[in-house]
């Protein structure tokens, strides 16, 4: 019976691992090894970092059986507030702290609506996406704010001159999230609530609090994402990020997270985010047009999900 468990876990991420190896090999050859140069690997990881961070928050929410479509709006609004505060001369650490608070507050509103009042996650977060990006644009009148060398230096510097700041940040978030999901009672309850909400409720678990917290975590990580993007670009604008929620969902789903809830891992999501970044990077190196890139990305996501679901149906047929 032990073997069965091992096989099952491989099955969950099996499709992705095969894909990641295949893609690495393909682009490695197609770009004549440029893909695997240390500088390029560093580039890939840096560009995966935002998606990785947001994807982890998304994973928490997806495990509860919900969805967070407000991440793009949240990041834009938080970035614009962050930029404005920096321009007003507020000390940088206070600005960063405020960004995390603002992001979490958006998550809290989502969480209360969905967890406490049982509103539909899809609709609530979609509305919140409009509201937050609207507030950000209104407040800054749609103008781009730029010039924050201080936080760029802090966030985007590199540790020992080797590990870029954003990658380090993603790694720290991933480790913490991994510990929370695997080793804490909160993590266990999260999977329970997503796996069978009624049984969780009947086991004396406070579903509302668990769900609410998941959205706050997602919001908090959006705040962190805003810090990351603002410092990386040294600017904040209403079009600085687009469709981050889709990339985040794609990373999570590639990593084996189930949209039905109850299933998902941090490791899977991180590998998913890196795989997506690698595809984009590889196609760029090959000079493929951005329009064609979109098609390739879509096809790959479709293929992985299809493989996964074939495996599942074969398993259940056994």
């Amino acid at each position: 019976m032990k073997e069965k468990k091992g096989r099952f876990q491989f099955g969950q991420m099996g499709g992705l691992i095969i894909l990641a190896v295949f893609i690495t090999a393909f682009f490695g050859i197609a770009t004549k090894g440029v893909l695997l140069s240390s500088q390029n690997i560093s580039n890939i990881l840096v560009s995966a970092s935002l998606n990785g961070v947001i994807g982890i928050g998304m994973t928490f929410v997806l495990i509860t059986g919900g969805i967070d479509l407000s991440v793009t709006g949240n990041i834009i609004m938080t970035s614009l507030f962050l930029g404005s505060m920096m321009l007003l001369g507020v000390p940088w650490f206070l600005c960063l702290l405020m960004a995390l608070v603002i992001g979490s507050m958006v998550g809290l509103v989502n969480g209360i609506s969905i967890g406490r009042f049982g509103m539909v996650a899809f609709v609530v977060t979609m509305a919140m996406n409009n509201i937050t990006s609207g507030i950000g644009k209104l407040y800054t009148n749609g103008l781009t704010q730029y010039g924050f060398p201080k936080i760029h230096e802090i966030i985007c510097g590199s540790l020992f001159g080797v590990i870029p700041g954003p990658v380090l940040l993603m790694a720290v978030v991933a480790v913490l999230a991994f510990i929370i999901l695997k080793y804490t009672d909160y993590g266990r309850q999260l999977y329970a609530v997503g796996g069978n909400p009624k049984a969780a409720w009947m086991s004396g678990i406070n579903n509302r609090r668990i769900i609410m917290t998941a959205y706050v975590i997602s919001g908090f990580l959006c705040g962190l994402g805003a810090v990351l993007m603002t410092s990386k670009l040294m600017s904040a604008s209403s079009s600085m990020v687009t469709a981050t929620e889709m990339d985040a969902i794609a990373a999570a789903v590639l990593g084996g997270t189930s949209l039905a809830g109850g299933v998902g891992t941090v490791g899977g999501t991180i590998i998913g985010a890196i795989t997506i970044a690698m595809i984009t990077n590889g196609l760029n190196l090959m000079g493929v047009s951005p329009f064609a890139q979109q098609i390739v990305k879509g096809v790959i996501i479709f293929a992985v999900v299809a493989i996964d679901s074939f495996q599942k149906s074969r398993r259940s047929a056994e």
Binding site: K4, D185, A192, N196, K198, A199, M202
Partner: protein, 502 residues
């Protein structure tokens, strides 16, 4: 002997190293009611799933009207006239009875669905079966028993040759059972072979012509029901003749210490004026048919619907008003729900996490994994869960073992009072006794236990005191050691004692 309509010949099936069926042969005949008996894990469900085309047999043949067939899948089996009513009903609650029964056989005129004709067809069908349910109401509006009848009517509408019923009466009251039995007899007259998968002996003797007993993947007995008696059947099921149910005799109740006191509890249209005391170490039982309000009482005590009742509950002499299950749990109350599949198990979890889901608070923010392993491992031992594998996913356990896991969840959580709603529903005879023994052991440790059950055997063998509910009211309190199943049933059904013959 007559030609068999369906025959399983020398069927073998194994899952991994687990041999579930080892050479099973059973024949099913037209116009008969046949019982398929066996304890949980004997292989009944697997056999039925093979006959349904859900699984493929590793070896052996299936013969339909004497011809060997191979199914392409469950839909194929259905098309060939092999139909099944599952324990968990399978209907569209938002749709009407007509829409559910008519299924894909919609009657069309000019390419549009003619609902009037559909309704008439369904009405005629229901009348023929002697079912008086209104064909226009939504299925979710019906009682569980009526839903069951509709489900059977739906299967029969497809004109099956053979109909499998999986524990059809497990959630029905005595009166409702009668209606179901009448329906089954009528089906028999129309020439359908009805196969009952059941644990109820009364059902076997009242309804069935033939029976087959499975044990450990083999047929241990089969033949005319007339040749059997209860002792022989249970002997064949268990492999050794045992006294099925030990009668409850010793009580561990400490009648000086009240654990829970309920005063004039009521929820409009559910139950009213419920007052009782639960003592330390006592096993109190609420008896009553489905619809007597006992399940609702259990849920109210666990705070499932919040504080929406009138009256008062005291625990340890202090007011107790649970706003939600987590609140009740924090105050030392546990509850094993009636519906294992819906409210009990986490299908995304292995056995271990299923057992520990109610005791997480005890394990700390960073889960104490050693403690978790110790406690869950001990639970599996004590409840004799098989296979004894903490890391096996819950869906790979048999129903009875799943129930033991759900039960042990609240025992592991170390609560002072545990409420159990139909704790052995769908559990085989041997496992039942194990569960009762465990409850008794827990009571001896000072835990207060309340069982809500409609099985008289269960009440007699597990409890110290029995309170009988009928139509939302308490009608009688009995001391288990001094009562009989006739007495319990009499109060449950009629609300009064039988007129004794002088």
């Amino acid at each position: 002997m007559a030609e068999s309509v369906l025959e399983a010949r020398d069927i073998y099936k194994s899952f991994g190293s687990n041999n579930v069926l080892e050479g099973v042969s059973v024949r099913f005949y037209e116009g008969r009611v046949q019982a398929l008996l066996g304890v949980n894990g004997a292989g009944k469900s697997t056999l039925v799933k093979i006959l349904q085309g859900v699984y493929q047999a590793d070896k052996g043949d299936i013969l339909l009207n004497g011809e060997k067939i191979v199914y392409s899948g469950p839909a194929d089996a259905l098309k060939r006239g092999i139909s099944m009513v599952f324990q968990e009903l399978n209907m569209f609650g938002e749709m009407s009875v007509t829409e559910n029964i008519i299924g894909s056989h919609r009657i069309k005129t000019h390419g549009m669905i003619n609902w009037k004709a559909c309704r008439q067809s369904v009405r005629a069908h229901l009348d023929e079966l002697g079912i008086s349910i209104d064909e226009t109401v939504q299925v979710k509006e019906l009682s569980l028993a009526d839903q069951q009848l509709v489900e059977i009517a739906r299967c029969v509408y497809e004109k099956p040759k053979i109909l499998f019923l999986d524990e059809p009466s497990s959630s029905l009251s005595k009166a409702e059972e009668e209606i179901l039995y009448r329906l089954i007899r009528r089906l028999k007259e129309t020439g359908i072979c009805v196969v009952l998968i059941t644990h109820k002996m009364e059902e076997v003797f009242e309804l069935c012509d033939q029976l087959s007993v499975l044990r450990d993947g083999r047929v241990t007995a089969s033949g005319d029901v007339a040749e059997f008696d209860v002792d022989r059947i249970t002997g064949d099921m268990l492999g050794k003749t045992v006294d099925i149910f030990k009668r409850s005799s010793v009580t561990n109740g400490n009648y000086d210490k009240v654990l829970m006191e309920v005063q004039k509890l009521g929820i409009p249209r559910k139950f009213e004026d419920i007052s009782f005391k639960l003592y330390e170490g006592e096993i109190l039982a609420f008896a009553g048919l489905v619809g007597s309000g006992k399940s609702e009482l259990a849920r109210a005590l666990f705070g499932v619907n919040g504080v929406k009742y009138t009256g008062k509950i005291l625990v340890d002499g202090k007011p107790y008003a649970p706003s939600a299950p987590y609140d009740a749990s924090a105050q030392g109350i546990g509850y094993v729900p009636i519906s294992r599949k819906e409210e009990g198990i986490f299908t995304n979890f292995e056995a271990k996490s299923n057992i520990s889901s109610a005791m997480l608070a005890k394990l700390g923010f960073f889960i104490d994994r050693k403690k978790e392993d110790d406690i869950t491992g001990r639970m599996m031992e004590e409840f004799n869960v098989r296979p004894r594998n903490l890391h096996q996913n819950i869906v790979n356990f048999s129903g009875g073992n799943q129930q033991k896991i759900v039960l042990s969840r609240w025992i592991a959580a170390d609560k002072r009072i545990v409420l159990l709603d139909e704790p052995t529903r769908g559990v085989d005879v041997g496992a039942k006794q194990e569960i009762y023994d465990n409850l008794r052991r827990l009571a001896s440790e000072g835990i207060g236990i309340i069982i809500f059950s409609s099985e008289t055997n269960e009440l007699l063998s597990s409890s110290d005191r029995i309170i009988i509910m009928r139509e939302g009211k308490m009608v009688k309190e009995l001391v288990t050691a001094e009562t009989t199943s006739e007495e319990i049933l009499m109060y449950s059904i009629a609300g009064k004692e039988a007129v004794k013959e002088v």
